[in-house]
Symmetry: C2
Subunit: 144 residues, 2 copies
């Protein structure tokens, strides 16, 4: 039985070695797992991106969030070009070991558009409305 399933009746405070659980994480056919980043104090959901095993391990080892960029096909150390890094506070896996949730401390905007959160296209009846302003222009964020 999958180890996440096997432990699901455990009580609060039950502990088990991380390295063994790491072997049971369900990465998808591309070797990736979705990772949600939530600002630790305001609880705003900032973004969802993907991690491969190396990105997850690096995030845990360094305390700086590292994703896998599907468009670039490489490790994506969040903030490496924009300076808007994510410091890891806590990381949790879900009941079936196929999704990551992180509490982070996001410096500035998380979104490539310069907004704090990526989720700014909000449904309002038969329309979508933009619900957040750009904090820093992308031209400024990604200047050479």
């Amino acid at each position: 039985m999958n180890r996440f399933k096997a432990l699901e009746k455990s009580e609060v405070g039950f502990r088990t070695p991380l390295d063994e659980m790491m072997r049971h994480i369900k990465f998808n056919d591309q070797g990736l797992i979705p990772a949600v980043a939530q600002q630790f104090d305001t609880k705003e959901v900032l973004m969802m991106a993907w991690m491969n095993r190396d990105a997850l391990q690096e995030t845990l080892d360094t305390g700086r969030v590292c994703y896998w960029s599907r468009s670039r096909g490489g490790l994506w150390r969040k903030g490496e070009s924009s300076g808007q890094i994510q410091l890891l506070k806590t990381l949790a896996l879900d009941c079936d070991g196929d999704t990551v949730l992180m509490q982070v401390d996001q410096k500035g905007p998380a979104c490539h558009t310069g907004r704090r959160s990526c989720f700014f296209y909000q449904v309002d009846g038969s329309e979508i409305t933009v619900n957040a302003d750009v904090l820093i222009s992308p031209d400024e964020l990604y200047k050479k």
Copy 2:
């Protein structure tokens, strides 16, 4: 150009028809999009699951959250067997139109284990610890 990309410089309050944006949502190769559910008042992230176009449309039409069950291969009206329904408060799409974030009002546990949230396997140093208790036994939740 993708419509999500085309509108990303818009100011707060900009409005555009939902049905046109719906045509530009990026479902994956299986026709699915990840959907994150957050309790609207406490801001706790409850779960991440998948929607196809029909599930997303039904969720918007009915105000009750409907996912796509990859294991069962069918629409999954959250709470249909457990009674633990999710009422939709607001729904947003992200900058590139490939992730959904919902503010919901979750009745009871969101997780099939009977816990409030699915994200109860928390990394703590070299271990994982279970950080939440079962609120309602799954035997009770899914009784015939």
